[in-house]
Amino acid sequence: MAEPVQQQTAASSSGETTGGSPGPSSGAVRVSVPADKTYVALVRSAASHLGARLGLTIAELTDLRLAVDEACGVLLLPGEFETTGAELHCRFDEYPDRLVVHVSAEADESAPDVDGFGWSVLSALVDELRWSYQDGWARVELVKRATAAGR
C-alpha cells in the first residue's frame, strides 16, 4: 500500500507549509461548528467564499468545496478519526496564491481510512494533504493553489 501521508511530529502553529513563500494575506478565518454532519454544508460555503476571493476557477472551486467536505468527513464519519469533541474547528489561511485549510477536533487516538473513497478523492483534489494526531487532537491539513488562469 502506498503511504501518501506523513504523521507530523510537531504541531504547526503558523499554517506555513512551504518555506520562503509570502505569508498570509490577512488574519486566519476560523469557523467552528458542532461536530455533526448537518453543519458541513456551512463549512463548504465558507470555503467557496474564500476560494472565490482567491480567484479560483469554477473547476478549482468545485474541487475546493469537495475537498473541504471530505476533510470534514475524515473527522465525522465512522471508520475515520474517532472524534470525541463537540466541535469541529476549521481554520482558513489566505495566501496570495493558495488557501491552506486545517480541520481539527478532539478525538481518541485513531487514524483516517487512507484506503477509503473519501481519502483517495480528497488526495486527488488538493495540492498538499496531511493528517496528524497529537495531544488528543485529530487534524487534517490541505493546501489548494490557484492557477494563474484564475487570477
Binding site: 454532519k37 448537518t38 458541513v40 468545485t62 474541487d63 468545496r65 470534514c72 468527513g73 464519519l77
Partner: protein, 103 residues
C-alpha cells in the same frame, strides 16, 4: 443549508424516475437511500435524474453504488441521467464512473 430534495415519479410498471435537487452529502445520504430502497425492485428501472443536483461527496456516491448493487441483486436496473460536472467529478476521482449506467 438547503439540504436535499428527493421526488419520485412512477412512470409505469417498469420505470421510476427519482429526481434530486440540492446537495447529496454525508448529512443527506441516508435520506436518499430511504427513498431509493423501496423502488429498487425486480423488473423495475430506476432513473436518477441529477439535473438539479448541485453537490455530491463520497458518502453520497456510496449510496449510488449501493443502489446499483441492489438493482443488480434483485434483477432491476439503476441508471443516472443529466449528471452535472461536479457530480461527474466525484465518480471520476473515485474510479467508479463505469459502475453506474447512464439512462
Amino acid at each position: 443549508m438547503d439540504g436535499l430534495q428527493v421526488s419520485t415519479a412512477v412512470v409505469d410498471d417498469a420505470r421510476s424516475v427519482v429526481s434530486l435537487s440540492g446537495e447529496l452529502d454525508m448529512a443527506t445520504a441516508d435520506l436518499l437511500w430511504a427513498e431509493l430502497e423501496p423502488v429498487l425492485q425486480p423488473g423495475r428501472t430506476v432513473v436518477l435524474d441529477c439535473a438539479q443536483l448541485e453537490f455530491m461527496d463520497s458518502t453520497g456516491m456510496r449510496v449510488l453504488l449501493r443502489a446499483s448493487r441492489r438493482a443488480d441483486e434483485v434483477g432491476g436496473a439503476f441508471q443516472m441521467t443529466a449528471v452535472p460536472p461536479p457530480v461527474e467529478r466525484v465518480l471520476d476521482l473515485a474510479g467508479v464512473t463505469s459502475e453506474i449506467p447512464r439512462g
